[in-house]
Every structure is written in structure tokens, then in C-alpha cells.
Symmetry: C2
Subunit: 323 residues, 2 copies
């Protein structure tokens, strides 16, 4: 597939052209730039943002061991069978220091689809840069979108706050539980009832499946939402059972979002959230850099020596920030 | 004591003069202004800050029911017996919507010292204004300091994050546990090992006192600190037992802080923390007010219609903020 990266230009604009032409290595390098954050990520966004507005995103979340990866693989196969075009997976792991497909799990999964040029799998870890994964993931989605990938799965490892935020910031969010996971209260505690558009009880050949379904149903009925009522679907991902039904449910939710206009509304809200997040981070960075400045030290010395009160000092510093 | 508040001026400067002259109602009203936050609190701080640098603060924290109030009352009596001057208690309860001594518990305690003009007890609750209790409490301490109170106890109801922060931001922090409280692991979990200058095992006439002391000792030895080694003292506050030893330990810690210069260093660090907190809150308030502006809506519309990427939009808004 790849002839290595030697000789390729690393300028984002050229990488984007090659990636749009189907070059996977250029796409991988473009995603690395996007993930790096800072000025280079901004340049990437400037290029891809106007080209990206079409890709549909499906979030896959749930507790570790629920079978999310296997289920996502089934959905990839389903999408390839149905000829919807290229498909990508962003496997998000906030706890891992590694990015870029270096994880063993991804190598195994890559082999699964190694002969399929239409499937792109990428792991993303936390890099600690401006906004972290909450900003890196939507930018990565836009990169994929801009090079012509119409369907992106965003899969998380666990159900931490970041993971729920990231998987919840998609068009359709699928929450995967197992009969052995315990009751639906755990899902509720993790904030999953609010973000789930579809619930899946995976490993549904095990005892307790019916109880898990009923528990989820009961929890959902206790806090009913207007409009879309999240279905609860049993699957056995390891044997591909129930995957067709899940695929259809995603399609129905997509239609619902389009018909009601809710999809566009949510995308707008997500963009505003992203803008707000970047904005607050920028202010925090400015404040951080200011607190290392001679001006900060000067004002602080005035406060320490009781010549200036903290309110007045902060006000002076805040005014300085604007200059 | 009081002739009511009618006829008194409510201007901070005049209240401060009356309060400094010993008028308790003026002092109470000044503290209410300080607690209210906003411009009026800033005016109060402008007046009291240059006058305040001397009051010694003792934080009293620990789980509910450990007997902190009773122990604080014992320390008040000890300070009055030793003639150290006027003394005040700020009873901090982040979970209560009530401030200003309206709590039943304080009424009962006020009666205890009702005939003692040298004791001032004040409850403080969360008002949700800029910085909350983390800013209101140090300002209240400065008010008391400025009117000539040399010793202030800051007593919290429980061991939540705010309460540990507030009680920890004092010269000497006393952490009160009971034999029944369980092991020292609970104290460690609440972050109390780090802030404690003195540990008290109260209700030391109960079984398990020795074990609690040993547990705390062991936990402290596992993370040794340079310099001051926190003593672990048994007390029976209800009978006044061990209070003299606690009073002496506070005195020894105070001497340690003065001799090493650590006291002044910590006060400086607390003032910087306060300034930084006010500063960040100011930026957040500006960001909040900006997001309701026509400019924010205009930029957001550009982003939603995919003409401007979120990074660029946030940058434009951040630049606007400075103007």
C-alpha cells in the first residue's frame, strides 16, 4: 500500500491533495498534524473546514469489555456491504500516551481490513495540547470529511467524562452495555442516558439480557425525551447477530435528524461548543503566560507588601491583557 | 448591646470607623457587604487591606460531628483566659444558603459568649458570587483584622473540597477526627494530611483513640514533610481536656512559622492565589458577557455556515476582548 513517506511533501495543502486522491499515508500524516495542535493544526483546519460538512459521525461508547470494537468492525463490514463509500474509525483512548495507530489492538484490527483500501482506522490518545481530545477529534473528523470519507465511527475505550463527551459529540451516539455489566443505573451514573440515541445490549446470548434491556427501558421511561425514543437492541457482535438491525436503527435516527432539522441544529451547537472551548483555552493560556511576566511579578509584589489589594491588582492585570 | 441599625450610616468607611471603635453591629454590616461580593466588596477591601496584616488565623476542619464547634469554643475560652485580645470565629458552611449568623447553631453559640464583647461569631455560606467562599473568607478575615481582632478561627462544617481549601488557607490548620471516624485513610482521601499542621483526636475518652492516633502517625510518617512535623493530640472538648495542650501546639506552630519566615511566605502565596482566582474569574465573566454579544452571534453564524473555522473565530473573539 505505502511506499514510505520519503519524498512526500509535508505541507498540509499538498498532503490534503494527495489524501483526497486516496493516498493513505498522506491522510495519516495530515491527521498527525491535526492531532499535534497549535499553529499547524490551525493551518490544517483552515484548509479542511470549508471542504467538510457532509460526513456522518457515529459515536460508540460503553464500558471496557462491552465489545465496542467488535461491534464497530461489524458496522464497518455492514457499511462496506451496503456500498456507502469509504469509512473511518477514530479509536479514542484518553488514558493512552500513544497515538497514530501504534496500539496493538489497532494493528490486529488493521489486518482485518488490510486489503480494504476503503477502510481507515486511527487511534487517538490524549496529547495534553490546547483543548485535548475534545478539539482534536472533531478536527480529525473534518480532515476525514474533507478527503471524502462520508462515514466516521468515533469509538471510545471506556466511559470517563472525556470519552462520554467525545462519543456524545456525534450525530448518532450508540451506547453498548452487556448483560454482565450490571444494571442500567451504571449507565445512568456515567451520564450515558442523556447522550445515547441507541442502546445496544451486546453479548445477548448470555443470561440476563432480557433484564438488562428492561432495566434500560425503565430508566429511559423515567426521564422521557421529546421526539426520538432511543431503541434498545440486542446483538451478538462476535457472530454478527443483530448488526443489520443496529445498522437500520442508525439509519432511522439519521433520517429523524434530517427530517426534523435537529441534525443541523446539533452540528451548529457542537461548532459553538468547540469555538467556546478554544476561546476559553486561549484566555487561559494568555493568563498563564501573563503570570510569568515581569508585570505580574511587579503587581504581585505590590499586593504582598500590602500596597495594593487583590481585586485592584487583578483588575490591572486584566486590563493589561487587552493591550 | 445593640441599639438597632436605624440611623447608622451604611457607607463602608463610616462602618469601618464604628467597627474599629468596638461597634458590633457596624462590624456585622461590614462583613455583610464584604460577603455580598462585587463592587461593594471591592470598596470594603480597598479600605481594610492597607490596615490588615496582623491577624493570626487558625483553620478548624474535620468531618461533621467530630466536635469542631465545641473545640473552637474551648479555644475561644483559652484565648480569653490568656488575654490575647478580641477573638472571632468564621463558621463556614458551603452547603447552606444562609449567612450572617442566622443559623440556629450560631444563636446557641452566641448565647455562650453573649456577655463577652470580645468574642465575635459569624456564619458564612456560599453566595455564588465571584470566587465564592474562597474569596469571601479571606476578605472577611481582613475586615476583622482591620478593626483590631488579632485572632480569627475559620471553622468549617465538613470536609468537602471548598471547606478543605478554606480551612487550609489559614496560618495554622487544625484537623479534628474522632476515634469513631474510622481510620486515617479517610483523612488522607479528603486531602487533609497535606493541609494539617495539627491533628486532634477529639472525644478521646472513647475506645479506639490510641488506634486513631497511631493510624494518623503512620500516615504522616509515610509522607514525611520537611520542617514542621504535625503533632497528633487527644482532646475531650466537652470536658475541656487537652485544650491547653492544643493551645500550646498552635503557639509552637506560630513560633515555627515566624522563626523560619514560612508564615510570611505562605501569606504571600495565599495573596497570589487570591489574586489569580479573582483574575481568572474576571476573564471568565468577560467571556460569558461576550458570548451574549451581537459580535459573538455574528462570528458564530460565520462558523455555522462553514465560512470561518472555530480556531480563527475564537482568535477574533479573543482579540475583541482586549478592546
Amino acid at each position: 500500500v505505502s511506499v514510505g513517506s520519503r519524498g512526500r511533501s509535508s505541507a498540509p495543502a499538498e498532503l490534503l491533495d494527495s489524501a483526497a486522491g486516496g493516498d493513505r499515508v498522506s491522510l495519516a500524516r495530515l491527521l498527525s498534524l491535526a492531532e499535534r495542535g497549535g499553529d499547524v493544526a490551525r493551518e490544517v483546519d483552515r484548509l479542511v473546514f470549508p471542504r467538510a460538512a457532509g460526513a456522518y459521525t457515529v459515536g460508540m461508547t460503553g464500558s471496557p469489555g462491552a465489545g465496542k470494537s467488535t461491534l464497530t468492525d461489524c458496522l464497518i463490514r455492514a457499511s462496506r456491504d451496503r456500498d456507502v463509500g469509504r469509512v473511518a474509525v477514530l479509536a479514542v483512548d484518553p488514558s493512552s500516551p500513544l497515538s497514530g495507530g501504534a496500539l496493538l489492538g489497532d494493528r490486529v484490527r488493521m489486518q482485518d481490513h488490510a486489503l480494504d483500501e476503503g477502510v481507515f482506522i486511527r487511534s487517538m490518545a490524549s496529547r495534553g495540547q490546547l483543548g485535548g481530545l475534545s478539539l482534536a477529534v472533531p478536527l480529525a473528523v473534518r480532515v476525514l470529511d474533507a478527503v471524502g470519507v462520508p462515514l466516521v465511527f468515533v469509538e471510545t475505550v471506556g466511559v470517563g467524562q472525556i470519552e462520554v463527551d467525545v462519543a456524545g459529540a456525534t450525530d448518532t451516539t450508540v451506547v453498548v452495555v452487556t448483560p454482565g455489566w450490571g444494571d442500567a443505573v451504571q449507565a445512568a451514573k456515567a451520564g450515558l442516558l442523556e447522550v445515547a440515541d441507541i442502546f445496544v445490549v451486546n453479548k445477548a446470548d448470555r443470561a440476563g439480557t432480557r433484564e438488562a434491556e428492561l432495566d434500560l427501558r425503565r430508566m429511559l421511561d423515567m426521564s422521557p425525551r421529546e421526539g426520538w425514543d432511543p431503541p434498545v437492541l440486542p446483538t451478538v457482535a462476535s457472530r454478527g447477530e443483530g448488526v443489520g438491525e443496529l445498522w437500520d436503527a442508525i439509519g432511522r435516527h439519521r433520517e429523524y435528524l434530517e427530517e426534523t432539522g435537529l441534525g443541523a441544529e446539533r452540528r451548529g451547537a457542537r461548532l459553538e461548543r468547540e469555538m467556546r472551548l478554544i476561546f476559553v483555552r486561549m484566555l487561559e493560556e494568555r493568563a498563564e503566560s501573563l503570570s510569568a511576566s515581569p508585570e505580574w511579578q511587579r503587581v504581585l509584589e505590590e499586593v504582598r507588601s500590602h500596597r495594593l489589594e487583590p481585586y485592584q491588582a487583578a483588575l490591572m492585570l486584566a486590563e493589561d491583557l487587552g493591550r
